[in-house]
């Protein structure tokens, strides 16, 4: 999967699940702020990404991922 494919998949998935416009999802944007995630809904993001890309993310890894750009890199690293 190319980086572009990851980006478009992630953006479409998150826009639908968290009911935001895809345009607001940019590499430098903060994930929690943009998707309005609280401490309870971060786990939904992890479940969604894990399910879509067939990966297994643990909480400690995810706490280092702050922006969408970091999320794309994180996924790319996991499926490489």
């Amino acid at each position: 999967m190319t980086k572009e494919e990851i980006i478009s998949k992630v953006n479409a998935l998150l826009a639908e699940e968290f009911e935001v416009e895809e345009e607001v999802i940019t590499p430098d944007a903060n994930i929690k702020k943009t998707l309005e995630l609280d401490s309870l809904s971060l786990v939904d993001l992890v479940a969604l990404i894990d399910g879509e890309f067939g990966i297994k993310t643990n909480g400690a890894e995810m706490s280092k991922v702050l922006t969408f750009g970091e999320l794309y890199d994180f996924i790319a690293g996991k499926i490489a």
């Binding site: 309870l40 971060l42 786990v43 992890v46 479940a47 894990d50 399910g51 909480g59 706490s63």
Partner: protein
């Protein structure tokens, strides 16, 4: 397998709101428990365990799974942490269990971040699935 009083090692709830009476054990990502419905159950009415009882039974199955993990990570003597339901989604209850029936529930962990665990639960009476739901459990540190 843990039964009766031994369940108290795994979950913080006490009478009259203990909604599991048997815990079969936990794997890395799943746990399984049971409850036989008694007429004296606080959530029983007219011979049926109401929705609240079914959901609490599912929540306590999740709590017991967490209780096992807690002991594995922090030692056998670790007391169960207080935990709460954070969210319930897609909860379908097909029918209410009747007094005398045994509910068996399996929870499978979908994802876990810090002290929040997202699980899928299936509750059966015999071979009949009577409830399914996604449950998010929040645990105190």
């Amino acid at each position: 397998m843990l039964q009766g009083e031994e369940i108290k090692q795994l979950i913080p709830q006490r009478e009259p709101i203990m909604m599991i009476d048997t815990f079969y054990g936990a794997s890395e990502t799943a746990g399984k428990s049971a409850l036989t419905v008694l007429a004296a159950n606080v959530f029983c009415e007219n011979g049926q365990l109401r929705e609240m009882g079914v959901i609490e039974h599912i929540a306590q199955t999740s709590a017991a799974y967490n209780g096992v993990k807690n002991k594995q990570n922090n030692g056998e003597d670790s007391k169960p942490k207080l935990g709460y339901i954070g969210e319930i989604k897609k909860c379908q209850i097909v029918r209410l269990p009747r007094v005398g029936e045994q509910l068996v529930t399996e929870v499978v962990v979908t994802a876990q971040v810090m002290n929040v665990t997202l699980m899928e639960a299936t509750t059966k009476v015999g071979d009949e699935t009577i409830a399914t739901c996604q449950i998010k459990l929040f645990e105190e540190d």
